[in-house]
């Protein structure tokens, strides 16, 4: 099913979705866009290239509380946090980010241990993918083509949206999306011209080129394994690295976390908080020993995890080439260049 709406009327669609549940959509912040829970439909803003932070926080929030407890009280009195989720709508996700959910699914929702929090949020959410504007120049940091993702890939979205001048075309992809789209009476029916425009747009998306290097997951996994001991290479790659956590925090595929018990005034919370392999204390052991004290070791870990260990464990590269780590890096470290260099090393 294909429907459409004028982009200037987007707040009407937002209002309808807000009645049905929680709406997460891009909003303009001082100098960037970010996904946020919408309380004012006027705030939804689709004039963005891509958001600063990835939409992973919709399913994997920066802090997730598990248990609330009281000091000195028996364990049986501790309360589990129960998620009472309303249906949620994640609106305006770029195709590369949509792909990242599938990769994260393997980890949280398929391989052995199931994360109930991730699963509950994932199942409650309908994803509105949103194609990159192929009439705008591509950002020089992006490289999602390298990972086999294109600017207008509807795969993974429940409803996929493309921009047609001042209109937004919405196409249902999954039965979940089909059902929702049928209910959205705020939208107009699309004409056959729109159908054609949509199909063409998806095709043209393939020609919208980001940086590209031929990366076969098996080849790169093997290659990175083989240069593990090449300290010179990693030292060179990490010479500028400050080892802050912005690359991992903004990454749609980084899922490392820390379990924290925070107790204050006799009350405590056990929660899961994002952690970053770039931090010095990430691998700090209780004994005081730290197996990764050097910056190069930590950067090597990050790259190896994404391009090698993840391939070995789950068969796919844990990177979608959204370019956030490169764009946000205070010293312009570019994981794409590292991969290129690794292939030549």
């Amino acid at each position: 099913m294909l429907k459409k709406t004028a982009i200037e009327n987007i707040s009407q669609l937002a209002a309808v979705l807000m009645e049905k549940g929680t709406l997460l959509a891009p909003v303009k912040e001082v100098s960037c866009h970010n996904f946020a829970e919408i309380s004012d439909p006027q705030k939804v803003d689709l004039k963005f290239y891509n958001t600063l932070m990835s939409p992973k926080s919709a399913f994997f929030p920066h802090r997730e509380d598990f248990v609330k407890y009281k000091v000195g009280k028996p364990l049986s009195e501790a309360e589990h946090t129960i998620l009472n989720l309303k249906p949620a709508f994640l609106f305006g996700v770029r195709p590369c980010d949509v792909k990242s959910f599938e990769i994260m699914d393997i980890h949280f929702n398929a391989a052995g241990i199931i994360d109930p929090y991730w699963r509950a949020r994932r199942e409650a959410t309908t994803i509105f993918g949103y194609a990159y504007d192929i009439n705008q120049p591509v950002d020089s940091a992006d490289f999602y083509n390298t990972l086999g993702i294109y600017a207008a890939d509807p795969e993974g979205s429940d409803i996929f949206m493309v921009k047609k001048d001042k209109e937004l075309l919405l196409k249902s992809i999954t039965p979940k999306g089909e059902k929702l789209l049928a209910e959205l009476s705020a939208l107009e029916k699309a004409s056959s011209g729109d159908e054609k425009y949509y199909e063409d747009y998806i095709k043209k998306g393939k020609d919208y080129k980001t940086r590209f290097t031929c990366v076969d997951s098996e080849v790169i996994a093997k290659k990175i394994e083989s240069i593990f001991d090449n300290t010179d290479f990693w030292t060179k790659m990490s010479a500028a690295c400050l080892s802050c956590g912005i690359c991992t925090f903004s990454c749609p595929n980084c899922y490392c976390f820390d379990i924290c018990d925070d107790t204050l005034f006799g009350k405590g919370t056990r929660s899961r908080v994002w952690d970053a392999c770039m931090f010095t204390d990430f691998t700090l052991e209780a004994s005081g020993h730290n197996p990764r004290t050097q910056v190069y070791q930590r950067l090597r870990q990050k790259v190896s995890h994404k391009y090698s260990y993840h391939v070995r464990k789950y068969g796919v590269i844990s990177c979608v080439g959204c370019g956030r780590c490169t764009r946000q890096c205070p010293v312009n470290i570019d994981i794409y260049s590292i991969i290129e260099a690794a292939l030549k090393a």
Binding site: A239, I246, D281, T326, I333
Partner: protein
Amino acid sequence: MTDFKKIEENLKTEAGRLLKEGLVTVVLSYGKGFDENHPMPYAAKTIADVENIVFNQYCNYNMARYLVRYPQGTKIAIAVKAADSRAVIQLIQEEKVKRENLVILGIPVQGMKNPKTGEVIDSKTTCGLYNPVLYDILLGEEVHGQKNALPYEVLAEYEAMDKDARWEFWEKELNKCIRCYACRKACPMCYCDPCFIDQSKPKWADKAPQSPGNMMYHLTRFHHLAGRCIDCGECSRACPVDIPLYLFHKKVAKECEEMFNQKAGMSIEDKPVLVDFRVEDSDKILE
């Protein structure tokens, strides 16, 4: 002002010479990034590396950040702009590096730009100097006769605010923090290992990016940089969520200058103001 291309040439020549003559083992300067608008901090260790050195208007990194990575005694050449040279001086004051182990390549320059916003970096977010304070070799002509706003002028608006409005402002700004710690990592003066915020005993703050922890982290960091911040603006440029950290640092620097009559990073003879005292310090400063 000497143009960027010429400075780059001079930088390459001097770096090549220093490495060739064996005077230094590493030259800290700027290198090629993934494209021209995104250069990177670069450590040239061999003569072949010199080719990769670049200098353009986006090379705003404070290379003094990397000095403490090398073991004491390493002979290092470092390219510095005005604020960066103050950072080097401050590190010498704090005995993190020794003057005799450094060859300071001074770059007098104006019109550096922030690659994220394209804005010119001026006295609004930095100390607003154009000429290095300390150098061994100058890589271009000194910049003179440039009208420039004073570095603390930008503060007037915030100082005039009512205290509640100011609290509201800082609460809003600091609550944006996602605790990626790019500010402390980009800061040439933040070299503590471990940083107080990473300690678990005592644990000063939660790990989650929430108000109490964010406040604790930033207020303490402002305090730790009191009288040491050389106003290079790296923290604010590194911040992914654009917290105007420079404002607070400027304010603390200004207060320290007024109270203790000394500007951070201006002379290697000085001692950082908070590890120093004068018997004649007045109790008035406590009022």
